[in-house]
């Protein structure tokens, strides 16, 4: 615990110039993480053990990376539950993620979180819009993006049965948009329309789409 608190303390000191606070919960410890991005919304990270699971927190490893001289820091952990409050909508969220492992990088001006085996709840205009599952993902607090890769599955909440599958999906949390690339397959639960393309843009609800990379659409109940 002493090491943990020491690292967290350095993490705190490393970005003391910041305007908005991000709160980090690790091993039942609360930490205020500074960052210098005035527009960045607080990032709240919880260990999975603080959720419904009664199991104690798993082994935690921390690797300092030039924390003393540059303020950079790298934190690794085995499980993570993180939420991103929506700065424009108090009490609402931009996303919630669950992942089996993560690396948190804080190079002074931004927080980058790399996660593995991620499940995410994505919000659009403050409303839960879709779930996302991916083997790997990266969150960037400056761009407010989640870059998911390794074979991504997105399922709309508001459009039952509507799904998106692609090699990679970028979630733009600030605008509630998605960009899917690589072997994109979109399936509409109502019309059973199935679209194949290499690049597809859409909203998080998967209700509006556009593609300029060519492709095909199949309608089972056709002409």
């Amino acid at each position: 615990m002493h090491t943990l608190l020491s690292i967290l303390s350095k993490l705190n000191r490393s970005s003391h110039r910041q305007h908005t606070a991000a709160r980090l919960f690790l091993a039942f410890t609360t930490l205020t993480v500074s960052n210098s991005i005035a527009s960045a919304a607080p990032l709240v990270v919880h260990p999975l053990s603080s959720l419904a699971s009664a199991k104690p927190h798993q082994a935690v490893g921390f690797n300092k990376n030039d924390a003393g001289s540059t303020g950079n820091l790298e934190v690794t952990n085995s499980n993570i539950y993180a939420v991103q409050p929506d700065p424009k909508r108090p009490g609402k969220f931009m996303w919630k993620i669950w992942a089996s492992g993560f690396t948190l990088l804080n190079p002074g001006k931004q927080i980058t979180v790399n996660v593995q085996n991620m499940s995410a709840l994505l919000f659009q205009a403050g409303q839960a819009a879709a779930t996302l599952h991916a083997p790997r993902a990266t969150y960037d607090n400056i761009q407010h993006t989640i870059v998911a890769s390794g074979g991504v599955n997105v399922r709309s909440i508001s459009e039952p049965g509507t799904t998106l599958r692609a090699d990679n999906v970028v979630f733009y949390a600030a605008t509630g948009k998605l960009k899917a690339t690589g072997h994109v397959v979109y399936h509409n639960g109502k019309t059973l329309m199935e679209l194949h393309t290499n690049e597809l843009d859409g909203d998080t609800k998967l209700k509006t789409l556009s593609s300029n990379s060519g492709g095909s659409v199949a309608l089972p109940k056709g002409l």
């Binding site: 509409n188 639960g189 109502k190 019309t191 059973l192 329309m193 679209l195 393309t197 859409g202 209700k207 509006t208 789409l209 556009s210 593609s211 300029n212 060519g214 492709g215 095909s216 659409v217 199949a218 309608l219 089972p220 109940k221 056709g222 002409l223």
Partner: protein
């Protein structure tokens, strides 16, 4: 060349009247009525370059090719409107429109095959509109307008495809021996019969 001063659309097909005696080939109503092949409504595939979907309709643009069980269509832009109750087959198409590209001089091209007769009908037009027939699950019409040209390829009767210019043509789709049925209005036809 045979000029047809007037052709009348009848339920039984395109009835050609005023036909000159030199064109004593295969211009009977039954011939243009085509059919005698059972085609059923089935899946449709659309290949596009640009695509937008808004929840109730989608637009496919840029050298669009639409392929269904009953016909093939090439256009610059195709807009498909979706609706109705979702079921095992999904919600259906309530309407579809196709446009050519006037600036590029391209038209909508629709191809309908009469497999049993071995005939192929091709329609060239500025616009085409598909509407399903709510009374027939497997029925619908494709309405061609704007500089319509119908080409009929009938190797058993014509030395080369006949060409008919029309203001307006309707192709009725459905299952059974009477489909596809083709109705047209005023126009002229060029025929080259087999000797």
């Amino acid at each position: 060349m045979v000029h047809l001063p007037r052709t009348h659309a009848k339920k039984s097909g395109l009835l050609l009247t005023g036909l000159l005696m030199t064109a004593l080939v295969c211009t009977s109503a039954g011939h243009y009525a085509g059919a005698a092949v059972s085609q059923t409504i089935g899946p449709v595939t659309i290949v596009y370059k640009h695509f937008t979907y808004t929840g109730s309709s989608f637009t496919a643009e840029g050298g669009v090719t639409l392929t269904s069980a009953t016909f093939n269509l090439v256009a610059q832009t195709v807009v498909v409107y979706l609706g109705g109750k979702s079921g095992p087959g999904g919600a259906g198409i309530t309407k579809a429109t196709a446009e050519g590209n006037p600036s590029a001089g391209t038209q909508v091209v629709g191809r309908f095959d009469d497999l049993k007769q071995g005939h192929t009908y091709k329609f060239y037009a500025d616009h085409a509109v598909y509407k399903p027939d709510p009374s027939k699950p497997s029925g619908g019409t494709v309405d061609f307008t704007g500089n319509v040209t119908m080409s009929l390829s009938a190797p058993d009767a014509l030395a080369e495809p006949s060409i008919t210019h029309l203001k307006h043509a309707i192709v009725t789709l459905g299952s059974g021996p009477d489909y596809p049925r083709i109705d047209g209005d005023e126009g002229q036809t060029v025929l080259t019969p087999l000797h």
